[in-house]
Amino acid sequence: MREELEKRIVYSPEGEAIEIDPLKDYFCDALPQVEQKSSIAILEKFANWARSRSLWVLGFGTGCGAIEMRPLMTPKFDAYRYGIQWRPTPRQSEVFVISGYLSVKTLKRVIRSYEQMQGPKYVIALGSCTINGGMYWDSYNTINRLDYYMPVDVYIAGCMPRPEALLAGFEHLKKIIREGRGEGANKYAKDFAWYKANQKKIIKDWDMPDYNW
């Protein structure tokens, strides 16, 4: 446990003692709930169509694959025309591109960012490292299978996949969303205990609540 996360007492200028428990005061630890689809089928279909045409990607490059995201903004590939945009904050984005290998240290940040995103949210796993570890399969500090730790919608194999492959992955994700199968957030909420146990097995210095929306 980091020092700044431990319980402590601070004194105000008037001498009043204030007890602070950072894990309780700064985080909300309400567990995720399974969110129902809209009961009107045509509304849900319409919403899914809009969701598939407006994918906001969290600008968080976890590994070397992040370099493949940059060309998508350039004139050559221009992902904006497919409704794909980059957002700087997890609150406003719904697609998380896990770009390449994921070290244990990064995994912690990835989990926090993923949990802060608002559902429905989708995960694209880019590169072989996210499928079976790739060239880092026996490394001491990277994970091998991403879907032990969070639900993955689309895998893109390769080391590295070209930007075209990433675009094709986005198109595949759109198809999944339009068919109403992009329910990763609900899957995470349903199997929460299993995901959390896996995460805690890997992350030794766990110093946050179980779920920090």
Partner: protein
């Protein structure tokens, strides 16, 4: 009265759609200049439907919920208290004799509401964004207010309708010709009010992601997006009314406001971003001086 309310709602509806189209078309033009294909022009509609159809949303307290409403109130209030189409009974809205003062107040209203809400979100980037935004808006108010006061003295009225009426009869009667110093001060302050480069340090997506609305998501962000469509167009209409002779029909309004909007775009693509201390200092030199000269000229000529 009911008729007037319905027409006001119609105004808001038209302006909102115009704002969304501008938000789609201007990035499209930018993309074509950069040899990209660019977003579809209807992308802002898709984004807003998507945001309203999110299934989860979180709150940080009451002010956090109210802030987007404040912001939207600022935009709609600015729009509804000035005559949108000159000489039209339908689109004069709720403008009255002293509307110029109220409109100046509504310029500031949304920013203050946003400051309260963003502060409650507790995110450090929000706090930085809000402090930058408030100092920048406060600084630009000098040039803007002096220009507006100069116009009020020139036309001896505080009513936007009368200012527009005084400018009818050809472009030689427009305030930008008859009172160039006030127009210059106001148009320079306008650059800051539009929040584009070089005055976009408030949102600064690559630096403080993304300033005040960092924590806003789902429907709350949707409300902010609606305001982001209405508020700039309302400001454009205000400047068109004060400086460019207003508009007598929607077609004229769209041409004029689009060209005024392009002024901020052109400046934005040419100049890099100011730091907040630089922009405040800039607002307190050139626009302020121009504003003071405008007042002097009107008073003593």
């Amino acid at each position: 009265m009911l008729e007037q309310i319905l027409y006001a709602l119609l105004t808001v509806f038209i302006v909102m759609n115009y704002g969304f189209l501008i938000q789609g078309i201007v990035p499209k033009i930018g993309a074509r200049v950069g040899r990209r294909y660019g977003i579809p022009f209807y992308q802002p509609y898709l984004d807003i439907i998507k945001n309203f159809s999110k299934r989860t949303r979180i709150s940080h307290g009451i002010m956090f919920y109210i802030a987007p409403v404040f912001r939207l109130t600022g935009g709609i209030g600015l729009l509804l208290f000035m005559p949108v189409i000159f000489g039209s009974n339908m689109f004069t809205n709720f403008s009255f004799t002293g509307d110029l003062l109220l409109v100046m107040y509504f310029q500031f209203f949304g920013v203050l509401g946003m400051a309260l809400g963003a502060a409650e979100s507790g995110h450090p980037h929000s706090a930085i964004g809000v402090s930058r935004g408030l100092s920048q808006v406060t600084a630009l108010e000098f040039g803007l207010s002096l220009g507006v006061i100069s116009l009020a003295v020139q036309y001896q009225t505080l009513s936007i309708s009368e200012i527009v009426a005084a400018q009818q009869g050809g472009f030689m009667n427009w305030s930008i010709i008859t009172n160039p110093f006030a127009a210059a001060a106001m148009l320079l302050a306008f650059l800051g009010a539009m929040g584009r480069a070089p005055f976009d340090v408030v949102l600064a997506p690559q630096e403080i992601p993304i300033g005040p609305p960092t924590e806003f998501q789902s429907g709350l962000l949707g409300v902010l997006q609606i305001n982001r469509a209405i508020f700039p167009v309302a400001k454009l209409i205000l400047f068109m009314n004060l400086l460019f002779g207003g508009a007598t029909n929607w077609f004229e309004l769209i041409i004029k406001t689009f060209l005024i909007y392009m002024w901020s775009i052109f400046v934005g693509v040419v100049f890099p971003r100011f730091r907040v201390d630089q922009s405040v200092r800039w607002f307190l030199t050139i626009p302020l001086l121009l504003g003071i000269i405008a007042i002097m000229l009107v008073k003593f000529s």
